[in-house]
Structures are given as structure tokens and as C-alpha cells.
């Protein structure tokens, strides 16, 4: 058998090299003893992180502005001494409600520009009344000047990035989805200065539903051609109407936006708009990097989603909730999300996007089945293998057992 050849190694000579090993413990001991017992724990990075993501903010409504007969803008200002976090125009906050002892959350795009937050420590959200809606009814009854609003944020990923987006952004808005473009337009003129150019194609049902009409006109007028707004009416058209009519289609986009092939599209509105615009953008061969869709949010009526298993409607299942060592059985309606079932039972999990994308409510399906809304499905690949899902956008399709992790 061949003799093993040893590595030839000499740093300061065999003896000194060996000695340096045996000296190591003593060296370490001395090294430790030369330290100070006053460990500096100051941490500016943690302070920055806390500024960027301050957690729950308690604010009050300092102003309520009627935008249209069915739309109001609420101006919020922190009352807990917190400074509003830096955000990107286009991001949203998650408002936390406690309604008759039931906790829930809703995402709302910030409609004011980052500049307002920096200068006045205020931000605005613009809400459209949803007659009969659980949260909307509460807001219309209770949100008056001086009322308290709890929220956290910023969240969301529809905002300008110079490495990804074109210099020309085309905003496609439907109804109150237009709020993000008010923030972006103001930020273009009084903030980041980006994007270089924005064309907003804004669809409304009727002329009286158009939000921020005058404000957009004023912004466009002083933008040196950087901002233009094209209104599209799908309902009754007034006699003196000079804008577009009908729905926003591929043909209309191609007609209005000569450079549509290279522009970046941001789409914000109701689910029906997303479905239509996806088809239009496909038809126009707009690449994925050039399209950004705002999150879907709470669905008013999930049976309208063609992919929802229609024969599942109208049922009530049993939801067994596991939390720590606790176990509880509650009812779950087949056309409401698992998150809503938990909220109804006073077992709310923390949610932000209400769309399935952010993953904040990640829970585990231990038994049974759910239908996870496929649009903006943000469940991780490995999570899918083990039954993890996002309750804010998942509907029960059988009796289910769910392990929840972080309750609020």
C-alpha cells in the first residue's frame, strides 16, 4: 500500500506553528478580557426599518372631501406621534376595522402623493360607496372628521421603477381604481418626478361618477404635456361629451396611445376591468414586464368569477380552526373567504392585500379542500405541496380543518 503523502506546510516553522494553536485559547481569553462591558446597541438601521414599516398607526380623520355623490376622500393624520412612512406613489395601506366586535381589514390605495406625507404628515384615501357593503356601510356611517382610523402599510407593488418601466406609463383605470393615478400624477410634478410621461385612460359609468375631474385637468394643464387624461364613459353620454365612449378595448388603446408597444401599462380597477384589459393587452402583444395589475381586493360576489366552482355556491361548511393548542369549530359560507369566516367567529388572522398575493395570512389546510382564487395567487411553490394557502382569497369547498398562525 502506498504511503499517504502528507501536505507540506510550514508557516513560521513546525514548532511555532504548533505553538500558535496551543496559544489560541490564551489569546482568546485575553482578547475577551480586553473588551468593554458597555455594548453599544444603538441601531440607526433598525430606526430606518421602523420608519419604513412602523406597524400599526393610529390616525384621525382631519378632513372629509366629497368627490362625487358616491365618493369621498378622507385625509388621515397620525395621532400616536408616528411619522408616516416613506411610500411609493401607487402603494396602499391596510385599514384595520373593528365593527361590532368583529375585526377585519381592507386595502386602500393611497390617493395622495408621498410629498403630502413628507410635508404635512398626512395621507389620503378615496373610497367609493358600496351600498349594502359591510365595511362601506360602516365607513359611511362612522368616518367623520375626528374619527379614529387604524392602519398599517405601505404595501403593494404597483409603483414606478426606472429599471423595469418605460418612461411612458399608461394608466388604465376603472371607477375608484383611479386613486393610485392621483398619487402618481402628483408625485410626477411634486415629488420623484417619475415617470417622465403618463397617459391616463380612465373609464367611468357616468359623467357624475368621474373622480378628481378638475384636479386631473389642473395637473395636466401645468405638466407641460407630461400628463394627459382621457375619459371613457360606458353609460349615459351627455350631449356635450368630448371624451371617449364605450369600454376600454385594444382598439381604443391602439388609437389613443401611438407608442403603446413600448409603454408600461398600470391597470387599476374592478375585477371585470382586469379581465377585459388582460385580453386587450394580450391582443396588443404587450410584454409582461410592461404590465402591472393592481391587486384584486375583496370580491363583492365571487360567483361572478367564471373560474369559481358554481355548484359550490349556497353551502355552509364546518371550519375547524387550530391555533396553538386550541381547537374550535365554526361555520364557513362557501361564497365567503376562509378569512371572513374566521373574522365572523372573532378569530381573525392578520390580512393586508385581501387578494391572495401578499401571504400575510398564510395558513395551513390540514383537512378538506378550498378553491384558491387563481388571480394573483401568491402561494409559494413548496407551500402548495404541504397544503399552505392564503385564507383571504380562498373559499371552502368542503368541511375543512385549518391551522392559523398569527391572529390579530
Amino acid at each position: 500500500m502506498a504511503k499517504t503523502v502528507k501536505a507540506k506546510i510550514s508557516i513560521n516553522g513546525y514548532i511555532k506553528d504548533l505553538a500558535s494553536f496551543f496559544a489560541l485559547n490564551g489569546k482568546r481569553k485575553k482578547w475577551i478580557e480586553s473588551g468593554s462591558t458597555n455594548v453599544d446597541m444603538s441601531d440607526p438601521v433598525a430606526e430606518l426599518a421602523k420608519h419604513l414599516h412602523p406597524g400599526l398607526i393610529t390616525s384621525k380623520i382631519v378632513k372629509v372631501t366629497d368627490e362625487t355623490p358616491s365618493t369621498k376622500t378622507f385625509t388621515l393624520e397620525p395621532t400616536d406621534g408616528k411619522k408616516l412612512p416613506l411610500f411609493y406613489a401607487g402603494q396602499y395601506i391596510s385599514v384595520k376595522y373593528s365593527i361590532d366586535g368583529r375585526t377585519t381589514t381592507r386595502p386602500f390605495a393611497i390617493s395622495s402623493s408621498p410629498d403630502l406625507a413628507v410635508k404635512k404628515n398626512q395621507l389620503e384615501i378615496t373610497l367609493k360607496k358600496n351600498p349594502g357593503g359591510y365595511v362601506s356601510t360602516f365607513v359611511w356611517e362612522n368616518w367623520v372628521e375626528g374619527a379614529t382610523v387604524l392602519f398599517d402599510g405601505p404595501h403593494g407593488h404597483i409603483y414606478y421603477n426606472g429599471l423595469r418601466d418605460s418612461k411612458h406609463v399608461v394608466g388604465i383605470a376603472g371607477g375608484s381604481g383611479v386613486t393610485i393615478f392621483r398619487s402618481i400624477a402628483n408625485d410626477m410634478l411634486n415629488g420623484s418626478g417619475r415617470p417622465e410621461k403618463m397617459t391616463l385612460v380612465y373609464g367611468s359609468s357616468n359623467a357624475s361618477d368621474i373622480i378628481y375631474k378638475d384636479e386631473f385637468d389642473a395637473l395636466a394643464a401645468k405638466s407641460n404635456g407630461r400628463i394627459s387624461v382621457i375619459h371613457v364613459l360606458s353609460g349615459d353620454v351627455p350631449a356635450d361629451w368630448s371624451g371617449e365612449t364605450g369600454f376600454i378595448t385594444a382598439d381604443l388603446i391602439a388609437k389613443l396611445i401611438p407608442d403603446y408597444k413600448t409603454a408600461s401599462f398600470y391597470v387599476s380597477g374592478p375585477a371585470a376591468l382586469y379581465d377585459a384589459i388582460e385580453v386587450a393587452l394580450d391582443k396588443l402583444s404587450i410584454s409582461h414586464p410592461n404590465r402591472r395589475i393592481e391587486c384584486y381586493g375583496e370580491s363583492a360576489n365571487i360567483t361572478r368569477n367564471k373560474k369559481y366552482p358554481q355548484d359550490n355556491a349556497g353551502k355552509t361548511y364546518t371550519l375547524t380552526v387550530l391555533f396553538g393548542v386550541d381547537k374550535k369549530e365554526i361555520p364557513a359560507i362557501s361564497t365567503e373567504t376562509v378569512a371572513v369566516a374566521l373574522e365572523r367567529a372573532g378569530l381573525a388572522v392578520d390580512t393586508q392585500c385581501r387578494s391572495g398575493e401578499c401571504g400575510w395570512c398564510r395558513s395551513k389546510l390540514e383537512a378538506g379542500s378550498v378553491w384558491q382564487r387563481p388571480e394573483s395567487d401568491g402561494v409559494r411553490a413548496r407551500d402548495k405541496d404541504s397544503g399552505y394557502f392564503h385564507p383571504c382569497s380562498a373559499y371552502p369547498t368542503s368541511d375543512i380543518t385549518v391551522r392559523v398562525f398569527t391572529r390579530i
Partner: protein, 505 residues
């Protein structure tokens, strides 16, 4: 307390042996840095997560210790071997070098570039092998306490290098500068300071990766966190997220449990912390309960590195974009001191970076017709604290910095990614603080200098058990940081804990 892979590995091993385990995690999910996140159509690996010691025992490969530890506990992550050790581009050497797996292949590859150094490189890998053999012996000894005579007779090269830094050992080989640079290229995995890092740590890492290959986890490192967490639950461990530990419960100088932020007191025989020790000492304990030397050790230790990481989702395949390597190290400067000093400044002078395209190792992982690149740049956790915390320039800084990295990436590889960027996200030290609570966004725990490498830490583990009932796992543990170190550390510390629980009985 804390559910990074260190905490979870310890938990799974303790639960396996029938110990009652409670894991408390302040974030809303487990895994720590072993995680992923989703943007649009993309699931991004949060960081470069390569494991060594994960050989599968087939085709002449060693059955790796990390894989063995996990398998013994019933944890079977989906491990995939990456194609090569590394590709390194030295702009000023005008050299684009790929280090293959397999010791003989590696020696040949270096010899091809620097023929006159072949025997030196062979001798170097021989030394690294001897370091590894010594470690295998030490790990086989009860409580990792080896017989000094065996060490002297059989493993003297381990002893003779343990007191030296990487720079000192490399100098003794008399390599040409190019060889030295090639063989040092892995340094970014463990240190910002390639001269002063402990040779033992580097030599071992180099040897194990090159011999057995480097493994990553299919469906991102989040997969390992899920594997560990699931197994913990099956074994009866209780895991609670969204629970913040506010205080240690101390009686007669010993930790006897924790108090959570909501005031609940939980008693435990032992507490294992997967976090930075000074946080526990200064924020969760009274100063009178913390021995001076525990604090002094924290004061003396050098913070490892935080990261500037960027995640880019691309709407084309790597082939379409001209990306042909899994991971590339870009070394713009080989002056170790200049490189180290540059890491102390926030976004000023880039001396090196790494870019990883996971889809080269796992084709199609990102999705059909897509791929992702992760950019990583190491920096001193204090760099941002000093220069980068002004929120008004934070957003701009992030974008400009990534713009710069992409510019260099395209220039040196010829790949074209601009125009295909569908999703982009940047993590800074502030991001790491946000998700883990670690001071200053530290990712690399403590620098493994000669006095604070793995050897002195393990040798002194009993002397440095400053507080009864309290241990540290994960990157701040005795095996130091690193994806596989954290796992091994968790298992080791669990074994120690079992022993101490038995003694207490």
C-alpha cells in the same frame, strides 16, 4: 426562541429524542433567512443558499454530514447539486475562470491558467483534505473533545494551521497572485476580509464544496424551513409565530424560561436562542444577571456582513438572455484591505459582487420562459448605519445601486437583461432588520477571525457557557454562521442540551 434553520434544526432533534419543545418566532412564519417571497409571477429565493456536506453517497461522493443529520431526524429536503463550484471574473486580470467540482478537476483547472503552481495547488488541496479529516475525527469524539495524542500524530497539519489566518497560510504557499486570487474566490461566502478570516474555516469550506459539490434546495430555501417545521410538528414540537419574547426569566443566575410581550411567562428547563447574544444580554436580561465576560465577548466580536441584495425577475429563459452560469463572482479589486474598507461605506465603491441565476441549476424553477437573477453585495452592517439611513434618499439609493450592478453584470458577461425585467425588488440591511429583528441587518453574524473561528469557539464552549440554561444556536452559535453550519450547529446544540437535561435529572 427564533426559528431560523438553527432553531428549527435544534427543535427537530430535541423533539426526535422525546423532549418537549416550544418554538417561539416573532415573525409570522418560520425559517429566518431560509425563505422566499413572491412578486407577480415570480417566487424569489431570498439569498444565495448553498449547502456543503450534502453529498448523496452515490457515484463516489461522500454521504454528507448535513444530509445525514437531517435524514436521521426524518427531514428530506429536495437537494439539487449546482453545476460547478464557482465562476469568477477578474476584470483587472482579464480572466474568466470556472472552478469545477472534484479535487483533481479543480487542480487541473487552476494549472491550466497557472501551470507553474500545479504542485502548490495540489499540496494546498491536500492540506484542506487533512483539515477536513481532522474535523471528521473531532466530530466523532464524545462531545467533540479529541485525544491530544491522536491530534498530534495524525492531524498535526490541522493544529499547525488553526492559529493562522487565510492570508498567512496562503502566503506560506508562495502562490503567484493569480492563483491566490482564484483560490480565495469563495471568501464572499464567509467574510468581508479575506486575509484575516480563519484558515481552518476557509480551507474546510473550499475542500468540502469542491469534493462533494454544493447543493441548493428545489423550490427555494423556504422549502427547508417547511420541511423542518412540518417534521417538528409531527414529532410533537409546538411552534408559535407572531410571538415576541420580551424577557428571559432568571432565577439564581440561571435562565429558567421566557416572558413574551403579552406578559405570559413560560418556564423551560433550557432556552435556546436563535439570535444575536447581545440582544438577549442587554434587552432581555438585567445587567446583574449577565457576567462581564459575556458582554466583553460581544463587544470584541466583529460584525460579519449584511447584504445589499437585489432580485430580478426576467421574462425570458437564461439561454435567450445569454446567461450561462449558475453563479458568478465578480472581483473588481483584489487588494484585500481595499476591498474590506470598501464594505464599510454605503453604496460608494463596488469591489465585488455575486450574481446567481437559479434556473441554470434548476431549469424551469422560476417558470416556463422566465428566470431570475439574485445579486449580492456584502457590506459592513455599520456601513448603512453611518451613511445610508436617510429615508429621503433610500429609494433612490436602492435603484441606483442596482442599476450599477446590472451595468457591470451586462458588461462583463455579455448577457442582456434590460428590457426583460418584469419584477425587481431590493433588500438592504433595513429589510433584514424588518423581517428578523437582527441588529443592523446582520446576516453573517460574527467575522470568523483566527481568535473567533470555529476551533476556538468549540474549544471554549464550556468556558463560555456564561449563563446557565441559556444557549445560542444558528449563525451566532459555536459553529458560526452559514446555511449548513446553522443546521449542524442546531443538531450539535440539541445533543448538548439532551446531555445537560439528562445530567440535571
Amino acid at each position: 426562541m427564533g426559528s431560523g434553520v438553527g432553531g428549527l434544526s435544534a427543535a427537530v432533534q430535541l423533539a426526535l429524542k422525546g423532549t418537549k419543545v416550544l418554538v417561539l418566532e416573532q415573525h409570522n412564519m418560520t425559517g429566518g433567512y431560509s425563505s422566499s417571497f413572491i412578486r407577480g409571477r415570480y417566487e424569489f429565493e431570498v439569498s444565495l443558499h448553498e449547502l456543503c456536506e450534502c453529498g448523496d453517497g452515490k457515484d463516489g461522493h461522500t454521504y454528507g454530514g448535513v444530509r445525514k443529520h437531517l435524514a436521521n431526524a426524518g427531514v428530506y429536503p429536495d437537494l439539487v447539486c449546482v453545476p460547478e463550484a464557482y465562476r469568477v471574473i477578474f476584470e483587472n486580470h482579464n480572466l474568466d475562470f470556472t472552478m469545477p467540482f472534484g479535487i483533481e478537476n479543480a487542480i487541473k483547472a487552476v494549472a491550466k491558467v497557472v501551470p507553474q503552481d500545479e504542485e502548490k495547488v495540489r499540496n494546498y488541496f491536500k492540506l484542506c483534505e487533512e483539515i477536513s479529516n481532522a474535523l471528521v475525527y473531532i466530530e466523532g469524539c464524545p462531545q467533540m473533545k479529541p485525544d491530544p495524542m491522536v491530534m498530534m500524530t495524525k492531524h498535526s497539519s490541522f493544529l499547525r494551521t488553526a492559529g493562522y489566518s487565510l492570508g498567512e497560510v496562503h502566503d506560506s504557499f508562495g502562490f503567484t497572485p493569480l492563483t491566490e486570487d482564484i483560490l480565495s474566490a469563495y471568501y464572499g461566502y464567509i467574510t468581508r476580509n479575506r486575509r484575516d478570516v480563519s484558515f481552518t474555516v476557509y480551507g474546510l469550506l473550499m475542500y468540502l464544496y469542491v469534493r462533494d459539490g454544493a447543493h441548493i434546495i428545489n423550490k427555494t430555501s423556504h422549502g427547508l424551513a417547511v420541511d423542518l417545521e412540518e417534521r417538528c410538528r409531527v414529532l410533537g414540537a409546538q411552534i408559535e409565530t407572531g410571538v415576541y419574547v420580551a424577557k428571559m426569566l432568571v432565577e439564581n443566575g440561571a435562565v429558567v424560561g421566557v416572558q413574551t410581550a403579552d406578559g405570559s411567562k413560560i418556564r423551560a428547563k433550557r432556552v435556546l436562542c436563535n439570535c444575536q447574544p447581545d440582544v438577549v444580554y442587554t434587552k432581555m436580561m438585567d445587567k446583574k444577571d449577565v457576567p462581564d465576560n459575556a458582554l466583553k465577548l460581544c463587544d470584541k466580536r466583529v460584525a460579519g456582513a449584511s447584504l445589499f441584495s437585489a432580485y430580478v425577475g426576467l421574462d425570458a429563459t437564461p439561454q435567450e438572455l445569454g446567461i450561462d452560469s449558475y453563479e458568478i463572482f465578480f472581483n473588481f479589486d483584489q487588494d484585500a484591505k481595499r476591498v474590506y474598507d470598501a464594505t464599510k461605506v454605503w453604496t460608494k465603491y463596488i469591489t465585488n459582487m455575486s450574481a446567481t441565476c437559479i434556473d441554470i441549476a434548476i431549469p424551469g424553477m422560476t417558470g416556463e420562459g422566465r428566470c431570475q437573477i439574485g445579486f449580492t453585495y456584502l457590506l459592513d452592517p455599520d456601513a448603512m448605519a453611518k451613511d445610508g439611513v436617510d429615508p429621503s434618499i433610500y429609494q433612490k439609493n436602492k435603484e441606483e445601486f442596482l442599476d450599477h450592478l446590472i451595468e457591470m453584470y451586462e458588461r462583463l458577461t455579455g448577457a442582456r437583461i434590460r428590457g426583460h425585467i418584469e419584477e425587481v425588488e431590493v433588500a438592504t440591511p433595513a429589510t433584514y432588520v424588518r423581517y428578523t429583528g437582527v441588529p443592523k441587518g446582520n446576516v453573517y453574524a460574527y467575522e470568523m477571525t483566527v481568535v473567533d473561528g470555529i476551533v476556538p469557539r468549540v474549544n471554549n464552549k464550556d468556558a463560555e457557557q456564561y449563563i446557565k440554561g441559556l444557549d445560542f444556536v444558528g449563525g451566532f452559535g459555536r459553529r458560526a454562521f452559514g446555511f449548513c453550519s446553522s443546521i449542524t450547529n442546531g443538531f450539535d446544540t440539541a445533543e448538548d442540551t439532551l446531555l445537560k437535561l439528562k445530567e440535571a435529572k
